[in-house]
């Protein structure tokens, strides 16, 4: 049972610039081969949680002050990003941080930085297999690609590192609904084919809970709810706040939710 666990966050607190506390005791578990999704509104601390895992807090002057992060049973909290990426944890940053002046294929090759000098031809083929759109654009500068292509590019770039845990930060941000669907299908396929463990931070709770095995809900730097994705989808609170549907399954009227505002407006 114990070695079934890929990642374990044990009551961690994160403080920025020594004063601003963002995470207040977050605990979560990611099992091997699972997709775990982390939901929550803006500012809940989802991205900070991911950065605490991947070591990218450091350049932003953030620090894990309490608790521990264990990866395959070994503590990794406050390690440098160079060390953590070499252990197999890769974070795909929010907002498609592509290398503008590198071509698509060069962007993908940067993903091999953690295993410099080893052959990468097979991985390129694998990425082009999952994201055929990239193959057609491989010689183009990434700066001129569309939003959808860029999202595929940064995910493919993460896969080039052969991660054992891939952290995805809002892959659906600013994409058309059809494209979001495609991206999520690819995420599911990657999880099934390659056995990659994934942690998914999303605003699009509906999509996220459809592909995830397990889910956590964050508010104000704390985990407020956790359960199987199935059960979360059925939970009345989650339905109301994150899925936008009421208990009956119909859309809840604006009047019922915010009646006080309405009255104010009509006074």
């Amino acid at each position: 049972m114990e070695n079934n666990i890929r990642l374990l966050l044990n009551n961690i607190s994160v403080v920025y610039s020594d004063v601003i506390q963002v995470l207040k005791g977050v605990s979560l578990t990611v099992k091997k081969g699972q997709i775990v999704s982390l939901l929550g509104s803006n500012g809940a601390g989802k991205t900070t949680t991911l950065k605490a895992i991947s070591g990218l807090l450091k350049p932003e002057n953030g620090k894990v002050t309490e608790g521990s992060i264990e990866y395959d049973g070994k503590p990794v909290q406050n390690s440098s990003p160079e060390e953590i990426t070499r252990k197999g944890i890769i974070q795909v940053l929010e907002g498609r941080q592509e290398f503008k002046y590198l071509t698509v294929e060069e962007n993908l090759r940067v993903g091999t930085a953690t295993r410099w000098g080893k052959p990468f031809k097979k991985d390129l083929e694998m990425v082009y297999h999952y994201f055929p759109a990239l193959l057609a654009r491989k010689k183009n500068l990434a700066g001129y690609c569309s939003g959808g292509e860029l999202q595929m590019l940064v995910m493919g770039r993460g896969l080039m590192a052969q991660p054992s845990l891939l952290l995805l930060d809002e892959p659906s941000l600013g994409l058309a609904p059809l494209l979001v669907k495609e991206i999520f299908q690819i995420i599911r396929r990657v999880n099934q084919d390659l056995g990659t463990t994934l942690m998914l931070v999303e605003q699009n709770a509906n999509m996220a809970l459809q592909i995830a095995h397990y889910g956590y809900v964050m508010e104000n730097g704390k985990i407020v709810m956790e359960s199987d994705a199935e059960a979360l989808r059925e939970n009345p609170d989650v339905k109301e706040f994150y899925l936008g549907t009421a208990a009956t399954g119909t859309l809840k009227s604006y009047k019922d939710v915010k009646s006080y505002k309405r009255r104010k407006r009509w006074l």
């Binding site: 991947s54 990218l56 350049p59 990003p81 160079e82 953590i84 990426t85 070499r86 890769i90 974070q91 795909v92 940053l93 941080q97 592509e98 290398f99 503008k100 002046y101 590198l102 060069e106 962007n107 090759r109 940067v110 993903g111 091999t112 930085a113 953690t114 410099w116 000098g117 500068l141 700066g143 001129y144 940064v154 770039r157 993460g158 590192a161």
Partner: protein, 292 residues
Amino acid sequence: MEFFLQLLVNGISLGFLYALSALGFVMIFKSSSVLNFAHGELLAIGAFMFLVLSAWAKLPIILAFALTLIGSFALGFVIERLFLRPLIGEALIEVIMLTVGLAAMFKGLMLFIFGGDIHDYPKFLPEGLSMEWGTIQIPSVYVATFIIGILFLIIFGLFFKYSSQGIYMRSVADNQPAALSLGVHVKRVFAMSWAIAALVCAMSGVVLGIINGINVHQISSVGLKVFPVVILGGLDSIGGAIIGGVIIGLLETFTGGYISTSLREVIPYIVLVLILMVRPYGLFGLVEIERV
């Protein structure tokens, strides 16, 4: 006409020398956005290193040259490690001020060790390298500069375009947080760019020493010329550095030949201002890719 051709040849050769030295400057700027004010001093260090090895230690020329390149490469690493790494994360202006300090320190040290006199290398370039067409002469130094310059530009071009390490270096220049998230060793990239820069500087320093003799003040003042060259070509473009170098070289020799030798040093800066008015990124600087 012959006078014109001779000036043309001189200008291009001089330009190539400037381009070669500007390469080191561009390298550092490209990866870490640092303007290196110790550039001229790095040129001088390379020239003196070769002097010590060839004239004083009397090593064979090839060996001395190779050791100079290796030594300066190592020096670049050491400079980054000792002086620049502690400043990672600090404001850019502090790092730039540090290079000003480094320049003063290196200059002082060299004056202390070698004095202010002009030193000379033993003659070693084969006379057969020099070329002649009618009355036009290309001294062997310039021919050697040309060959070495082109060779190195090709090597660096290939390195940055195709090698993994070159691609990692470009990724850091492009988007540092993203490079970090993929496990690129950003500090190693900075160290590498300083090492390569010091190596290229040493090479141009040696060539300058062959042409003019080796003197701290003279060689480090050539380092200043790197500014019009790289600003003209675009601070982050290797191809631009070459063309910028050739343009400045030509401007200098033609002004010196046809107008007056005292205007020689000023004209490049005037043209620089004019070009920047039309193309603020320089001739070949990266135009910001903007998403709208």
